[in-house]
Symmetry: C2
C-alpha cells in the first residue's frame, strides 16, 4: 500500500462554475514529479429506488430528460439536498415522483456513475410496503408513472426501451443478487 | 405524440465553462407558458468494451479515479475524440488501456450515464480475437490490467469491489442477454 493508495495529491483547486445542482472545479494535482489538471463535476450525490408494489410490480417513471433530448424510462431517483441522509432522500423522492410512500426501505448498494469526471455517487434502495400518497413532482419535472412486472422491465432493457445506466445496473443487479425479491 | 415529444424548447444557451473533456451550458428552456434554467454538462460521448480472451477471461482495468478519490475496477473505456467513430474509439482505447488489439468488435447497446445533468451517451462493445500489442496509456492515467473469469467479475460486483455503474450495467446486461458469450 503506502503512497500508491492515493497517487494524485491536490495542489490547488479552483471553482470554475457554481451551479444549482453541481459545480465544476479545476484542480492541479501532483503524481510523483508530474503535475496534471483535473476538471471535475462536484455533485452532492443521489439516490435511486427500486420500488415494488404488493402485486409484484415495479414503479418506473417516464420523464423528459433535457440533457438527453428525449423521454427516458427510469427507476425513481433524485439528488441529495444539503444535510439530507440518503434514506430520507429516497423516501422523499419516491413519494414526490410516484405518489407512493414506502413502509420499509433498505439500502442495497452504491456506485459511481461517471467516475472519470463526476464525483456523483448513487445510493440504491429497495422499497416495500407501498401506500398511495399524493405525488408532488417538482414544477420543472414532467413525470408519468408506469407500473411494470419485472419480466416486462427486463424486456424493456433488452429492447433498448430502457437506456439509463443506473436503471439497467439496478434492475439487473437485483435480479442477479436478490432473485427472491422478484420471484423470478 | 405531437408537442409532448420534446416539451422543453431551448430559448437561449450560454457556455459557462469550456473544459478539456466537457463543457457546461446554462440554457433557458420553455415548457408551455413556463420557463426554466437547465445547467448541462456537454460531453462528447464515450465507449466501453467488454473484452474476452480466448481463454474466457475478461480484461478489467484498475485505475485511480480522481473524482472518486480512489481506485476503481472497470471495463476498459474512454472518451470519443473529435470526429472519431465509436468503433475506432473502442479499438483505440482497448489497445491503449490493456495492450490488446481486437480482431473483431461488435456494438451491443448504448445508454446514458447521468441523463439528469449530462449529455454523455456510452456505446458498449464486445471485443473478441484479442492479440497482444503494446499498451500506451495516456501519461496521466495510472492503469493496471486485471484478468478475471466472468464468475469472478460477477462476484466482485456482489462484494462491492466493482462499484462503477457502466461496468455493472455492461457485465450484467451481457450475462442477462448474451449468456452464450460467457458460457454461464
Amino acid at each position: 500500500m503506502g503512497c500508491m493508495d492515493k497517487p494524485e495529491e491536490t495542489i490547488s483547486s479552483e471553482v470554475v462554475f457554481r451551479g444549482r445542482v453541481f459545480s465544476v472545479v479545476r484542480d492541479r494535482v501532483r503524481h510523483g514529479s508530474r503535475e496534471y489538471v483535473r476538471e471535475v463535476v462536484v455533485h452532492p450525490g443521489a439516490v435511486a429506488i427500486i420500488a415494488m408494489t404488493g402485486a409484484g410490480e415495479l414503479l418506473l417513471v417516464r420523464q423528459f430528460r433535457y440533457p438527453a433530448g428525449r423521454y427516458l424510462v427510469e427507476i425513481p431517483a433524485g439528488t441529495l439536498e444539503e444535510g439530507e441522509s440518503p434514506e430520507n432522500c429516497a423516501m422523499r423522492e419516491l413519494e414526490e415522483e410516484t405518489g407512493y410512500k414506502a413502509g420499509k426501505i433498505e439500502k442495497i448498494t452504491e456506485f459511481f456513475l461517471a467516475p472519470g469526471y463526476s464525483t456523483e455517487r448513487i445510493h440504491l434502495f429497495i422499497a416495500y410496503e407501498l401506500e398511495r400518497s399524493t405525488a408532488s413532482p417538482d414544477v420543472d419535472e414532467h413525470i408519468t408513472l408506469l407500473k411494470a412486472r419485472v419480466e416486462e422491465a427486463l424486456a424493456m432493457i433488452e429492447k433498448g426501451e430502457i437506456i439509463d445506466a443506473k436503471t439497467i445496473a439496478a434492475l439487473l443487479y437485483l435480479k442477479h443478487k436478490h432473485r427472491e425479491v422478484f420471484n423470478v
